[in-house]
């Protein structure tokens, strides 16, 4: 009998350390599906960032380089320039990519580096216990914004997919979510496309994935998933912001 559902070969057969209801595992799976789809597991190098997703190498069965906080796009630039025929991707959270690593992501995109960026936006710093992130929503209560994000004091949530799309070096920039079967299918397609852009040397490809952090949001997984639809998507509109070539 032909199996209709199996673990991607790019993913190891291990349990993850992620909290219940966290969507990193799901996004890992979509990335692994894309690697399997293009048959590139054996020639892929992942660049891990600092945050909950640092343990990339525990879950993906690929070679991995671990980058300092925010520097994954610079490390990936070095890797991709050294191994131009390999498939290279970074996997970064919102604190890593949109705060401490803003410079690195903007300039990697602007140079049109031929790697893929998977950006997981869950509006908080997960690993350090739920501080305000550059993507925290107005009014969002966090450890460091106990009365809610005050835009007059703390500024506004950054819409990175739109920022990245505005750069001439970017070939593909999209925002997806994984809060419903329909959105998961669309996210899988977008991630595949982002790898395809790299493999076909079309240019820099960026996928922002809206995701939950039930632990630091103080919600159960279902309520957290509901928040993606009710609060995140209205601010962070899903869609394709750049699609060149």
């Amino acid at each position: 009998m032909k199996p209709v559902f199996a673990r991607p070969v790019s993913l190891k057969d291990v349990a993850t350390h992620f909290c219940p209801g966290c969507q990193h595992g799901l996004i890992h799976r979509l990335a692994a599906d894309a690697m399997d789809h293009f048959g590139v597991q054996q020639q892929t190098i992942g660049v891990a960032s600092v945050g909950c997703s640092v343990f990339l190498y525990e879950y993906f069965d690929i070679d991995v380089v671990e980058a300092p906080h925010g520097r994954a796009p610079a490390v990936a630039t070095g890797v991709k320039r050294a191994r131009p025929d390999d498939v290279v991707f970074t996997y970064q959270g919102d604190g890593d990519l949109a705060a401490i690593g803003t410079s690195e992501i903007i300039h990697a995109a602007n140079r049109g580096e031929l790697f893929t960026v998977l950006f997981v936006n869950n509006t908080t710093y997960g690993m350090t216990g739920g501080q305000m992130a550059p993507t925290s929503l107005p009014g969002q209560r966090t450890l460091t914004s106990p009365e809610g994000r005050d835009v007059a004091m703390d500024g506004y949530p950054m819409r990175m997919a739109e920022v990245i799309a505005a750069l001439d070096g970017t070939a593909y920039s999209v925002r997806v979510a994984v809060n419903s079967p329909k959105n998961i299918l669309a996210a899988g397609k977008a991630i595949k496309k982002a790898f395809e852009y790299q493999i076909e040397k079309k240019g820099f490809a960026f996928v922002e994935v809206l995701a939950t952090c039930p632990t630091n949001w103080g919600m159960n997984p279902l309520a957290a998933n509901e928040r993606v639809a009710s609060e995140m998507i209205p601010y962070f509109k899903l869609g394709t912001f750049k699609e060149r070539g």
Partner: protein, 357 residues
């Protein structure tokens, strides 16, 4: 016969790097090292290598980390404030056991300081400026020829000991022109293969992971002991120094890099005046040539250390000499007009020569 050229020290660094097979350069403009990226940008394009003028010093050290993780010889160059920004990346490279060359053509400081010859980055280079406790190889050229030769040595040592290497010089050595003989590079036959480099699995059963995070019980301690053993091995095998006229010396003058060039002239003046003065110049600052200092002070009990700073290397000299040796210091903090003349150093030699230990 290799060619003899008249070139600046900074260009000699770039030529040495290319001779050593470095095809990846990542940097950011800063005086007084800008000749290096200018030269590399042209030459690397011709050679099919990679030159990136990065958006920041931080990005460039991390690009170096990435290229080095792939097993290739790669470098960055900068000057003091830029090297400060690279410290995070250097710590990560050390923790990840990655080789790579970081060239520091020092400015004077602190802060923005100036562009005069300076040796005030000795502590940052030798004691390491990043977090976590690690070591880097540090070489200190004193001539254009050494800018070439020690660049090559730094790559070899860096690959062999899997730790970043720093080449520490200043605008005096970086911008002066001298004759350079470009000896062809022959890689040491016993350099270990880079079996740790990420290449994509390509049929390997095991992943390769370049990382510095160790959270398992006992893992990080074991990792740190491994890094320490490697540094001890380096100290045992790779100390390098230049010694002159030590046999009958009653005073040993020491210094590194450009200060040593001036000090060497002062030593020759002293000899011409009939003073028995020797000269000992560290070529590697880490490992520090402790054995040479111990040997030189077995009989001669007086040392004069000269630096273009208020005194940094002198601490390592004091740790290395025989216990009953006396170490005097003469230095001038860097700044316009503060470079000592040979006559000035000769006066210091006269002052300390014959004084009881």
């Amino acid at each position: 016969m290799s060619e003899r050229l008249l070139v600046a020290g900074n260009i000699a660094v770039a030529m040495g790097a290319l001779a050593a097979g470095c095809r990846y350069y990542f940097g950011y403009p800063i005086t007084p090292q800008s000749d290096i990226p200018a030269y590399m940008s042209g030459e690397l394009r011709k050679l099919g290598g990679t030159f990136i003028q990065a958006e920041s010093e931080i990005a460039s050290i991390n690009m170096l980390l990435g290229a080095s993780a792939c097993g290739f010889r790669a470098m960055t160059s900068s000057s003091s404030p830029g090297i400060s920004l690279k410290q995070e990346g250097i710590s990560y490279m050390a923790g990840s056991e990655l080789p790579g060359l970081i060239v520091n053509i020092c400015r004077s400081g602190p802060g923005l300081g100036g562009i005069d010859p300076s040796q005030a980055d000795y502590f940052q280079s030798v004691k390491t400026g990043g977090h976590g406790g690690y070591r880097t190889i540090v070489v200190a050229p004193a001539s254009v020829q050494e800018m070439y030769d020690l660049t090559i040595l730094a790559f070899d040592l860096s690959d062999r000991y899997r730790m970043p290497a720093v080449l520490l010089a200043d605008s005096l050595v970086g911008q002066m022109k001298e004759a350079l003989e470009c000896t062809p590079y022959v890689p040491p036959a016993d350099l270990p293969a880079k079996e740790w480099a990420v290449t994509g699995k390509r049929g390997r059963p095991d992943q390769r992971i370049v990382k510095s995070l160790y959270l398992g019980e006992g893992e990080l301690e074991a990792h740190n002991w491994k890094l320490w053993r490697r540094a001890e091995d380096l100290k045992a095998k790779e100390q390098r120094s230049e010694a002159r006229r030590l046999d009958d010396a009653e005073l040993v003058v020491t210094g590194f890099g450009s200060a040593a060039r001036i000090a060497r002239s002062a030593v020759e003046m002293a000899r011409a005046a009939g003073l028995k003065v020797g000269f000992l110049r560290p070529i590697t600052l880490f490992p520090f040539p402790e054995e040479a200092f111990a040997a030189a002070t077995a009989n001669c009990k007086k040392v004069l250390c000269v630096e273009l700073s208020t005194g940094q290397m002198v601490e390592d000299v004091r740790l290395s000499v025989a216990r009953d040796a006396d170490v005097a210091f003469y230095g001038r903090p860097p700044g316009t007009g503060s470079l000592p003349t040979p006559e000035e150093l000769f006066a210091q030699i006269q002052k300390h020569y014959g004084k009881g230990a």
